[in-house]
Every structure is written in C-alpha cells, then in structure tokens.
Assembly symmetry: C2
Homo-oligomer: 243 residues x 2
C-alpha cells in the first residue's frame, strides 16, 4: 500500500467515522489537560507580545478530520488573543494550516470551517475583528511541508507513532518474517522490533529536521505521541512516555 | 440555499464531474493562450529577480477541482523558475493556495497533489531541488481569505461571474418577480437585471478591497470572467469582455 497516498482515517462525519471516534478519547482527561496547558503556554510564548508578529502562523500536523482539530486551534487562538489583550497590543491575524496525508477527509473538515471562523470572529470582535485564515495542507510530515521560517507554532497530537512506511528488510530468503502483519505484535521476532525502531528513528529525525527549517526563530512546537516504557513488546502498549 | 456553504461544482473525477468537463473548454484556444501569456508575464514581474522574494506565494481563487487548476499553477511556477535561472538567482520556495467555497471537492483535488509536487521537484531539481507547498483554502473570495501582504500573485479564471448570493429585493408584494429563476433570463424584467448588476458591483468591490489588502507591494493579479458586451440580456452571453 502506498501509505502517503492512500492511508487515512475512516472518512466522513457519520457514526463509524474517525471524526466521531477520535483520538483524544484514547488518553485520560488529566493527560489531555496537561498537554493543553503545555500547548497553550508554548503558543503564547511563541507569539508573545514582545516579538508580536502581525501574522501568527500555526500548523496542526496529522490533524485528521474531527471537530477536535478545530477545538485545539480555537484554544490556541484564544490564548494568543488573551496574551495580546493583556499587553494592550493589537490582535494578530492568524494563518492556520491543518495538515494530514492527502487521503484524509479534508471535505468533512472544511465543512466545519465557515462556522468555526464566524464563531472566532464574533468572539474576538472588539472593534476591528480578527482574521483567521484556515488552509488544508495535504502531505506527509516526514518531509518538508511549508516554506522556510514560516511557522510560529507547530503542534501534533497522537500522530507521530504512525511511521512513514512498513520498514524494509522484513524478509528472510524472500519469506515475510512478521507473520503477515504490518505492525509489531507479541508474535514478532526481535529483528522485526529492531527494524521498526530503526524506522522510527529515521522518520523522527526527518520530522525534526523538516520542522527546524519551517519554524521561525523563537517559534515553539508541542508534540505528543504514544509509546512504550519498555523494550519488551509484551508489556502494556499505548502509553504516553514521560514528557 | 446557503451559497457559501453548499454551492459547488459536480464533485469527484468521474465522467459527469466538473473536473472532466471543465472551465477552460468554454472559451476558445486563442483566448486561453492570450490569458496564459498575460498570466505568466505578470507572475514573472511579481516574482521578478530584482525583488526576488525567498518564498513566492501564489493563490488561485475559485480553483474548482480539476487538473486545469494544477496545470495553471505549474505553468506559473515554471515561468518564475525560468526567470530566476536567467538571472542566475536561487530558485524560490513556493507556497500555493488553491481556493474555492468550502463545499468544493478538495479531496479530489488533493488526490492529485502528491504526483504534482513530485513532478515539479523532479523537473526543477538542479541540485538543491525546489519546495512547492500546496494548501487548500476554503472560503468565499467575496471577503478576506489570507493574511495582509502575504501574496505575490493572484489569479482567478472564469469564477468572478458567480455572485456571492441571489440579490435581495427580488420580491414585489411578497411575490417573486424573477419567475422562480436564480439567474437573469430573457424573461426577467429590467428591475431584476438592475439588481443583479448592483449585486455584481457590490461583490466585485469587496473582492478588489480584500485582494488589495492581501497582495504584497508590487504583487500582481490576473482575472478573467465571463460577461456581456451589451446591457440587452437578449444578446449573446458568455463572452469575455475586452481585457
């Protein structure tokens, strides 16, 4: 399967869609709150009154297509506006990029945008109003997505545990050694676990290299991803490692 | 009908889709070539070697979802790269915004993006390669879409004859005076024609005001729209007025 082109969450807004069964439900309320605290405080620092960019550019990477995506962005915009008001500075304009693979259901996501923008405008309209531009940016975050030095704040929630591809080299004399799985399972031999780990290292390095080019000086990034506390894949999975 | 939210061309990439029956076919080959000449030369001026922005931002407004959209963008990028090479200057990075109403089939459009970006990268890879970021920007162009002073080149082909709404005031004592049509027809009374003209003036003024804020100083814009040479709506329609 061409992961970059064809991989996506369940589309639409219906009962079985990813949008209705979405990502933040897999973690506890405490972790979500702690993550959002870190996110908002980092966003405020990145767009702080001292540097006060006229346009604040925000990217959510691996956004998928649920309402959660827009609610995180909304919280960030609200936090930045509050900070600017405290400093009695003019509100910035916002450019928001929602990124996911090109197979993501951007139509479903975009159907929520007009109401989202109207709501933010109404909430922050203290005379001049604010501008919130929302754009969908299709593509893999394991590579460059945006122009150099163009983003003030980057966030990615619970997406980086998805690798760019099934690791190469999972064959022994032409036979698959991972029992036909595309993921690590308790039945996978140690060599498979090693190859997945190496793939993660390669992917994550590429991710960090790409983002370091896209962030402005002084920009901030908040990432969360699922992981393991132990090398033993029989142990509990899907934990958030310590931040 | 909520035009901004629900209005869109026939979706998908199938036989009856807009993508397969698309806009430039309604005009002659000569007009297309002339329009493209103007477009490319304006794009080169906007992104010329003298000012040489490191990132060139391009917006196609009312892009719909066909391959034509990307082929116009491709021609612009190629022209700008040629001009930079002639001036032995470094190639810029490109940020391309494809805009249409939020009901447009962005999924179909985005499915073409990976191949498009790969092709451009391969074609212009003279060592460092080039970066082409493509984003979909849902929203009505009869209002602000992008941050202030953020675009170098704006184009809109055969979209501006679509108004933002059916004009208000098409009732006489509560009864519709336009025979149930949402457009002007030979059966429409003169007062209907006047209201459509006024709606166009209002919409186009808003369009120009918004774009003037979004263009950088020295940026360029190329627009084409269908129109009438005569006030008489019985005369031939769907002509390109003199540029």
């Amino acid at each position: 399967m061409d992961m970059v082109r064809n991989f996506h969450m369940a589309q639409g807004l219906g009962e079985t869609s990813y949008a209705q069964n979405s990502r933040l439900q897999v973690v506890t309320k405490e972790i979500i709150e702690s993550l959002m605290d870190i996110t908002l405080s980092s966003a405020m620092e990145a767009c702080a009154a001292e540097t006060a960019p006229a346009t604040v550019c925000i990217a959510d990477l691996g956004c998928s297509s649920g309402r959660n995506t827009l609610s995180v962005v909304e919280s960030i915009i609200r936090a930045v506006c509050e900070r600017r008001r405290e400093a009695t500075q003019q509100l910035p304009e916002f450019m928001v990029f929602l990124n996911d693979l090109s197979g993501n259901d951007f139509n479903a996501l975009f159907s929520l945008v007009p109401e989202f923008v109207q709501k933010l405008k109404a909430e922050h309209d203290d005379g001049g109003g604010i501008l919130v531009s929302v754009a969908g940016a299709p593509g893999s975050f394991y590579g460059r997505l945006f122009p150099s030095s163009s983003l003030h704040f980057i966030t990615s929630f619970t997406s980086l545990q998805w690798l760019s591809q099934v690791p190469a080299g999972l064959l022994n004399k032409g036979e698959p050694i991972n029992k036909g799985n595309v993921y690590m399972s308790p039945a996978s031999p140690p060599s498979v676990v090693t190859r997945y780990f190496e793939q993660f290292q390669e992917d994550f390095s590429m991710f960090l290299r790409s983002r370091s080019q896209e962030l402005v000086v002084g920009g901030r990034m908040v990432l969360s991803m699922l992981g393991r506390r132990s090398h033993d894949i029989h142990k509990k999975i899907n934990e958030f490692p310590p931040l």
